[in-house]
């Protein structure tokens, strides 16, 4: 008898555990303590600035950063309620989570803008010597991506589309990690790749990699990353989301002025780089980190405005590749009520 009740209890406990995850262990905390998901990339600077300059605090938010190695686990953490707000690229996983009613995109963050250094198209020296000197020659070539349905995959296909050949003519190679792609590109095992400017510039300085184009020529106004939160927050905790976006926008404005438009002066730029260095490239000395941080500065949307046109394009691409269901609508993915959309 005792054994039986014990068994039953553990079954119940097991189930309760499931329920907790299912409902989302997200009890509104008194002082609006929130966890913000971030990657240690320059593109996440708006959050870092808002934290360091107390814009979050001024908006009555007690923010704790949760750092992730990749976008994918961050999306899952938001769905599970462990993290409240995150900033990352739109991926197949993110869309599927949105379809399941777990998360919503509420604002824009990093985006490509003509005239500002954006993501670059790189080829290995081997491929370059073999004649791949411009993106239109990528037909039939291999292209490094992390996973099917990642932003790299999208970019590869947009290049193909604009150059007028089918996406399948670029042979994408899923290599899981950025490090692995870099290794494969340097050793000439893949022909091409596209990546954010600070990594691209550093690579193309070396002998093994050549830059042959810019992504902004292929995807103008590419909405690279977005701000997203759980669907529950977006519908029931609107005030909290708004306050986050306000603080985030203020941080973004400072960042743009200091490093993108460079209108705030050299001193402010220096300060900004120092601030960011607290979070990014922390293992490198400042003198080495600073150029990478400056190189990585891309526009973060003013007032977290969101380029829905491009997001819709991304969604359609995912659907055309069969990576997400055809039944996903833009409204399942995006809650347009928080920021200006275009």
């Amino acid at each position: 008898m005792r054994g039986q009740s014990l068994k039953r209890r553990s079954v119940l406990g097991f189930a309760a555990g499931f329920m907790a995850i299912a409902i989302g262990g997200e009890v509104a905390l008194a002082a609006d303590k929130i966890n913000v998901g971030a990657l240690r990339f320059t593109s996440h600077s708006a959050s870092f600035v808002a934290f360091e300059r107390e814009y979050f605090k001024n908006n009555n938010l007690d923010v704790t950063f949760k750092f992730f190695q990749a976008a994918q686990p961050m999306a899952v953490a938001i769905a599970s309620g462990d993290v409240h707000v995150g900033v990352t690229a739109i991926s197949g996983g993110l869309i599927n989570l949105a379809k399941k009613g777990a998360i919503k995109v509420v604002g824009g963050a990093l985006h490509e803008e003509k005239g500002i250094d954006g993501q670059m198209i790189l080829v290995s020296k081997k491929a370059y010597d073999a004649g791949v000197t411009s993106p239109d020659k990528l037909k039939g070539r291999t292209y490094g991506i992390t996973q099917a349905g990642s932003s790299f995959h999208y970019m590869a296909h947009k290049i193909a589309q604009k150059e007028g050949f089918p996406g399948s003519e670029i042979k994408v190679k899923p290599l899981q990690k950025v490090g692995a792609i870099i290794g494969a590109l340097k050793s000439g095992q893949i022909d091409a790749w596209s990546i954010v400017p600070h990594i691209a510039k550093a690579l193309s300085k070396g002998p093994a990699v050549v830059s042959i184009g810019k992504i902004t020529d292929y995807i103008p106004d590419y909405q690279v990353t977005t701000v997203f939160t759980s669907a529950k927050n977006a519908s029931q905790n609107r005030d909290l989301v708004k306050r986050f976006l306000a603080a985030f926008s203020k941080g973004a404005a400072d960042f743009n002025a200091a490093l993108v438009d460079k209108t705030a002066g050299a001193e402010e730029a220096e300060k900004m780089v120092k601030l960011i260095h607290k979070y990014v490239y922390t293992s490198r000395p400042y003198a080495k980190a600073a150029p990478s941080i400056r190189n990585g500065a891309m526009r973060i949307n003013k007032n977290a405005a969101l380029n829905v046109t491009n997001v819709r394009d991304q969604l359609q691409w995912f659907q055309s590749e069969g990576l997400v269901g055809k039944d996903v609508t833009i409204d399942m993915l995006v809650d347009k009520s928080f920021v200006r959309t275009y």
Partner: protein
């Protein structure tokens, strides 16, 4: 009143000695294993149907099965399975053959033992996944690095079981062989290898499981098809129904391999009681 034998015993103050020798003897009970499976899956399906297990947390078995059917209908199942099985078989066979050779040399030659055992001990615990970036450089992003991952994963455990098996061959049998003037080669071929075979085969069971575990890691690198690649893609798309279908596919692969090795044991070790 005639007394019954029992009452007679009672009156003589005698009792049956209590039996206390039960238990601790596992016996086969048919179908229970299958029933546990069926019950768990039914419970899981029921939980999903009534909304008790959220779709986000765990997709219903029926959804996973639908994903599996989709694989069958689209014809992709065969592509994934054949790609994976090819990698498994080439990686596992080459790892096992190399492991056999090295393990035998360690078992037979003191010099090889002195030189290689520390090396094997040092290299065995290195997670092959950690070596992936180097494997890409060494073996390329084609089949090379995938096969290499599985090869290295099976190579080291095979070495260890093989030389352990050789060490455990009855020394008296070897003395016997020498006393009858058998050649060195005959002793190795007819006494040592068959004597080590039980250990080698149980090692094969383990290394085959390791190979399946490593399949997902191996297919992280530039794989378009393969069960591991399918699972990885499902994971990155949060397509949990496909994820479960892929994992179930791996389980089935494991069951098949286990069954095959069981057959091999029955065939080769029929001399055992």
């Amino acid at each position: 009143m005639p007394k019954t034998p029992t009452s007679q015993s009672k009156s003589a103050n005698a009792e049956t000695v209590a039996f206390r020798g039960g238990g601790f003897a596992p016996r086969p009970i048919g179908l229970v294993g299958a029933m546990v499976f069926v019950f768990l899956i039914a419970f899981w399906e029921w939980g999903s149907r009534v909304g008790w297990i959220s779709q986000l947390v765990l997709p219903a078995p029926s959804e996973a099965f639908a994903a599996f059917q989709e694989l069958v209908v689209s014809g992709l199942l065969w592509k994934h399975v054949s790609a994976s099985v090819t990698r498994l078989v080439t990686g596992w066979i080459s790892g096992t053959v190399l492991g056999l050779l090295v393990g035998l040399s360690i078992g037979l030659f003191s010099l090889a033992r002195a030189g290689l055992v520390p090396l094997v001990s040092a290299m065995f615990p290195i997670p092959k996944i950690a070596m992936l970036p180097l494997f890409i450089i060494w073996f390329g992003i084609g089949e090379g690095s995938k096969v290499a991952t599985i090869l290295f994963g099976t190579f080291f455990p095979t070495i260890i079981t093989v030389y352990g098996g050789v060490d455990n061959v009855d020394r008296n049998l070897i003395r016997m062989g020498q006393s009858f003037g058998l050649t060195w080669f005959s002793i190795v071929r007819k006494i040592i290898i068959p004597g080590a075979l039980p250990a080698i085969l149980s090692g094969a069971r383990i290394s085959a499981s390791i190979a399946i575990i490593l399949l997902v890691a191996a297919e992280m690198i530039g794989a378009e098809f393969g069960i591991g690649a399918y699972i990885l893609l499902a994971g990155s798309l949060m397509a949990t129904d496909q994820l479960i279908a892929g994992v179930a596919l791996l389980s089935m692969l494991g069951l098949t391999v286990g069954w095959l090795i069981g057959k091999a044991e029955k065939y080769f070790l029929n001399w055992r009681a």
